[in-house]
Symmetry: C2
Subunit: 157 residues, 2 copies
């Protein structure tokens, strides 16, 4: 079992890149992680949200294997506590050999086709974060989850 983390578009901000690197480096001590950065899709001069989401779906879906367990990071998803999220990950690790594929979409969210392929949705907050900042927040949360699973002192209740 490994964690595959898919995201749309390159990282625009140096702080996002540094933040993600920081937590991924730590996370890799606990679990194999594969990063898949899907190149930004072009839809012409005027951004067209629907077309963009469909083109992104065309890039996302072929990268998913039949056995993968797909979790979308989505505003309408389930909101966990950090301990709850760690417990959920731990259950997946213990009961299923499937890879966990977490996907962070583009600025406009996901196509309906991607929602249909996903098994779960999770939300990091009732607030909206930029799809860039979400990367750092999610990286820290994934790292935090594994420190909780391993009983380490990073997380204080």
């Amino acid at each position: 079992m490994k964690i595959i983390w898919m995201m749309i578009g390159k990282t625009d901000f140096e702080y996002v890149e540094k933040g993600v690197d920081e937590y991924l480096k730590r996370l890799k001590k606990y679990v194999p992680v594969e990063l898949m950065v899907i190149p930004d899709v072009k839809t012409g001069a005027k951004p067209n949200a629907d077309l963009l989401k469909e083109k992104e779906a065309d890039a996302i879906l072929p990268r998913i294997k039949d056995t993968d367990h797909v979790i979308l990071l989505d505003e309408r998803g389930k909101q966990y506590s950090s301990v709850g999220f760690a417990e959920w990950i731990n259950e997946q690790i213990n009961y299923s050999p499937a890879n966990l594929v977490f996907i962070i979409g583009g600025a406009y969210g996901f196509s309906e086709r991607v929602y249909q392929r996903a098994k779960s949705k999770m939300s990091l907050s009732s607030l909206t974060f930029s799809h860039q900042l979400v990367r750092v927040v999610f990286a820290e949360q994934l790292y935090r989850a594994f420190t909780i699973i391993k009983g380490e002192s990073y997380h204080h209740e």
Copy 2:
């Protein structure tokens, strides 16, 4: 009216500093913002959470004026949507000349004395974020709130 943003301890990570700088620079086009970084408190070799929180309170409380409206960033606080948070800030701006003082505590949260002085508590997520990462998340959210108030295109519903 201005926004005062108080936080405990220096920023440990370059990515946090860069992220906060990025959003503060943009935010200052909309509203005066004053940053108060309260130096880390020492409690001896072994960390003592209660003593730490009391010493932090000793540093925080004298910096607050009687007229200030104090909002703590706290896990048990109210969870807003980004639009809800923007509306709340806009109400404060329109109906009260008081400064808004947002405080991000240390790794162990706040002393009871600080809770008593605060008027409101807000939570950025049901997940726990590191007290370092919270700074970037909050900076982006404050910036997002002002783009919503001003009707700019940064935030997509």
